[in-house]
């Protein structure tokens, strides 16, 4: 099978317009005859569902939380990029496109990224119209800030809770459609199977998490907006319920999984404090605008940070990257922190941390100035660690934050299963091997508000999803039976180890061997170790309780079973990619200075993996990335 990306013709800046000009339209009176199933209610799912219902489609929406307002998009702190150029500092759609494709280390599809930049401005307009309270200047116009090392100020923000405010906008638009009847909302439902009829995605099987009942829903298209899979590492900044199950079930039904090894490890997180740790907390990247990152010059220096004089500190980001200093991209900053800690310079009780110091900023801006910019983040830090960051430097360490990989989609966001569309973090398309700050919110909303309404319409108007399917058809029976069997199996193992114990073990393997720095030996070890752990899981996991009631541990058991398959695929993908690019750092491929060494001749492609019936032997398909608009250069932040 060849992967056809369906990129429209024409110069890059005209491709999306060319697509829109030619896309087929569904007659307005016919839209209500089409049922669209939307799974997930974060920025991508919420915005897509609201927009499609506004257009007249009949939309059914599913989420695992008790309310669509709780999707994990809500936790995004920093901001959302757009090429408005309000500050008149030289930003353009081209520049946002270029920064994003370069930031992704030239491993994203050019046409998708340009479209993302092109629709970015509409997102801001839409959100402001909804009443999203973005930060403003005293003159009443919108404020922008520079974020994550960008040379222009293009990030719109709402204090340290931009994701929350954008999600409330999408959620409120969604609830408005619930009121009109355009959206029927199904909270506390987990998608366990995709139903494919005559080669097209035509339905889903969900578990009602309160009653345990397996429910069947038919539709003309299925939109998967289920977020990323960072929780495969057990510890991440993801919410506890974030998982890969819906996407993985689709993968097993024929949707290719693209670039699974591209995992973003965010540099500024609160370090692990002990074995009981259940999740990690991100401190917004904006802190690096004013905080300085350092470790003692002497390995094993146990003095308190205030007692270490300036000339005995190593501001290692400023030293290694004088051009960008503390504002180098996430992948670069994370790796640099890992290197100093691995070399014994780490601080704190675990030695797996570096300082993020605001002493200079407090000297320059005063404590009140720092409080104005970062007050809520400082409070959060103190609440979690019990330390006052106005007095002692923060301790930070990288943590898994975002997954650039995901289900393969074409330009229309359609997966290799016709009628199955994938939006937001769940797809692979826009961030290449590394995502820039403030780009995740942009992508989720671009996909949901501005891309999918045209592409789903085009699919349906072109005859996709035609003819009604009934939930009593054999394909639904089969899917429901498969879901039922898995649940029964999990409950019947009755072993000695808890789901969390397995998950923690998997996370250790992933973090050690498929984490910030990878090598052939470690990846081979991971593949074997995960396969062994997976085999043990089905013999020795303990899942008490019943299936016909709320049973969160049973939900987790299903998710960890899928993580145990995904983890191996991630290791295989990382092993096959004999180069370093973006967040994927292979120790065998680095420059003399320890920077990532890309191998463009061999690896300028998307690795899309096909499930073959056995988790151990996926088939690799390649989508060659051709760059017409930009020249491939080596990222340098010196």
């Amino acid at each position: 099978m060849t992967l056809e990306a369906h990129v429209p013709s024409g110069p890059i800046a005209e491709k999306w317009q060319n697509y829109l000009d030619r896309a087929k339209l569904v007659n307005p009176a016919n839209k209500r005859k089409h049922d669209i199933l939307v799974v997930g209610t974060g920025l991508a799912g919420g915005s897509a569902a609201a927009t499609l219902a506004e257009l007249g489609y009949n939309v059914k929406v599913f989420c695992i939380q008790d309310s669509p307002r709780r999707a994990h998009s809500i936790a995004a702190q920093g901001g959302i990029n757009a090429a408005k150029n309000y500050p008149n500092d030289g930003d353009t759609v081209w520049r946002l496109f270029y920064d994003t494709i370069k930031g992704g280390d030239y491993r994203a599809r050019e046409a998708n990224v340009h479209r993302l930049a092109a629709v970015s401005n509409h997102i801001i307009d839409q959100c402001v119209a909804q009443g999203v309270p973005f930060a403003r200047e005293y003159g009443g116009l919108l404020d922008n800030r520079s974020f994550g090392g960008a040379q222009v100020s293009r990030t719109f923000y709402a204090r340290g809770q931009t994701g929350q405010q954008l999600l409330m906008g999408a959620y409120q638009a969604l609830e408005r459609q619930v009121r009109t009847g355009g959206v029927k909302m199904f909270p506390r439902r987990e998608m366990l199977e995709l139903v494919v009829v005559d080669g097209q995605a035509r339905g889903i099987v969900v578990r009602n998490l309160v009653t345990g009942e397996l429910e069947r829903h038919a539709g003309d298209a299925v939109l998967l907006c289920t977020g990323g899979y960072g929780n495969v590492y057990f510890l991440s900044t993801n919410a506890k319920n974030s998982n890969v199950t819906a996407a993985w079930r689709c993968h097993r039904k024929g949707a290719f999984f693209a670039n699974p090894c591209y995992t973003q490890i965010h540099p500024t997180c609160i370090p692990v404090s002990g074995q009981y740790q259940s999740k990690l907390t991100l401190m917004s990247e904006s802190l690096r605008n004013d905080g300085r990152v350092w470790v003692p010059r002497e390995a094993g220096d146990t003095r308190s940070p205030g007692n270490i004089p300036q000339d005995e500190r190593d501001y290692f980001l400023e030293r290694r990257y004088p051009g960008f200093g503390n504002l180098v991209p996430r992948d670069v900053a994370s790796r640099a922190a890992k290197v100093v800690c691995d070399d014994g310079f780490g601080v704190g009780s675990t030695k797996q941390a570096v300082y993020l110091d605001f002493e200079d900023a407090i000297g320059r801006l005063g404590e009140s100035g720092v409080r104005e910019r970062y007050g809520n983040l400082f409070e959060m830090y103190e609440r979690i660690t019990g330390e006052n960051p106005y007095r002692v430097p923060m301790r930070i360490y990288p943590a898994v934050h975002y997954t650039m990989g995901g289900l393969w989609v074409d330009y229309r966001l359609m997966s290799t299963i016709p009628g199955l569309f994938v939006l937001g973090e769940a797809n692979f398309s826009d961030h290449g091997a590394n995502r820039l700050g403030a780009s995740a919110l942009m992508q989720g909303l671009a996909d949901g508000y501005f891309v999918i309404s045209s592409t789903v319409g085009d699919y349906i108007a072109s005859g996709g999803g035609s003819g009604k399917v009934d939930i009593s058809e054999a394909a639904f029976d089969e899917a429901a039976k498969a879901a039922e069997n898995r649940i029964r199996q999990l409950l019947h193992v009755e072993g000695d180890k808890t789901v969390t114990e397995f998950h923690r073990e998997l996370g250790q393997i992933m973090w050690n061997d498929v984490g910030m720095s990878r090598n052939r030996k470690g990846l081979r070890h991971a593949i074997d170790a995960i396969a062994d752990l997976r085999a043990e899981y089905w013999k020795n996991v303990s899942v008490p309780g019943r299936k016909d009631t709320l049973n969160k541990n049973l939900e987790f058991a299903g998710r960890v079973a899928d993580f145990l398959e995904l983890g191996e695929l991630m290791a295989r993908d990382a092993l096959h990619r004999d180069e370093s690019c973006g967040a994927h750092f292979r120790e065998e491929y680095q420059t003399e200075e320890g920077e990532a060494l890309r191998r463009d001749e061999e690896y300028t492609y998307v690795a899309a993996w096909e499930f073959t019936g056995d988790a151990g032997s996926p088939t690799l398909h390649k989508e060659t990335l051709s760059f017409e608009a930009v020249d491939l250069s080596t990222r340098s932040y010196k």
Partner: protein, 250 residues
């Protein structure tokens, strides 16, 4: 390193909506002061699963105080004793070795119990669906800077837009009123020019939905403000009342 703690928990266990519930005693050893309260409950659940017993069900997700999933009465206080803190951000360092902590679900007629500490807060979604939005379809919005808004208006709107919909306000109100929740959304949108067009019908519809859901009236206790993890001011309720009267008689 921090000292190991022993904590005695009394946890509300109820197997289903119609089952009779009761407080059950548990003893947790070797807790650590850097743990969050929910991580202590994780420890309890791991022990229960090891014994083949049903773990305690409680809603939680982001564990960083923003998604609003978690909500427990801890020691009789919604989200526990720390001000401006959702229970997922409550840490064990605020307790002493040997303490006893009572853990119960949020209780309100409009929040029926599903199981153990999990309640159904979907009434909040229906209040928002009644009018908690600006009716703008996707596309066609004017340029974002074509509408200047004084910074102080946006800042004030923001203070009310930070609600996480956790329901602590309802759980701590003697009348189980949802006035702070509803008032926060009404106030957020009433402070912004985008919210003016539908200002009157919004407040009327939301207030009526709130009543229809079985939430009580506000009698100015102020407990809601005291427990709100986002410190939303009770001024929202006064604003909601003014908006309501203005809509009916203004």
């Amino acid at each position: 390193m921090s000292q190991a703690m022993t904590i005695h928990l009394k946890v509300w266990r109820q197997s289903g909506p119609d089952a009779k519930g009761k407080l059950v005693d548990y003893r947790l050893e070797d807790l650590n002061e850097d743990m969050s309260f929910l991580e202590a409950l994780d420890v309890l659940n791991e022990e229960l699963i090891k014994k083949g017993e049903d773990p305690v069900e409680f809603d939680n997700d982001c564990r960083e105080g923003i998604c609003g999933s978690c909500g427990l009465m801890v020691g009789g206080i919604a989200h526990g004793p720390m001000k401006a803190t959702a229970v997922c951000q409550l840490h064990m360092r605020h307790y002493k070795d040997g303490d006893t902590i009572v853990v119960e679900p949020f209780r309100a007629t409009a929040f029926p119990i599903i199981k153990d500490l999990v309640v159904d807060r979907s009434a909040f979604d229906r209040i928002i669906a009644a009018g908690g939005y600006v009716s703008v379809d996707t596309g066609g919005a004017p340029d974002a800077n074509s509408l200047p808004i004084p910074k102080e208006h946006v800042d004030e709107a923001f203070d009310f837009a930070t609600c996480i919909g956790c329901g602590a306000c309802v759980a701590s109100c003697p009348n189980a009123s949802a006035s702070l929740f509803t008032g926060a959304k009404v106030t957020h949108l009433a402070h912004l020019p985008q919210g003016q067009v539908e200002r009157k019908e919004r407040v009327v519809r939301m207030v009526e939905q709130m009543k229809a859901e079985g939430f009580g009236d506000c009698s100015n206790h102020g407990e809601c403000e005291a427990v709100c993890p986002k410190q939303i001011s009770i001024a929202a309720i006064a604003k909601m009342r003014r908006e309501y009267l203005r809509a009916l008689f203004g």
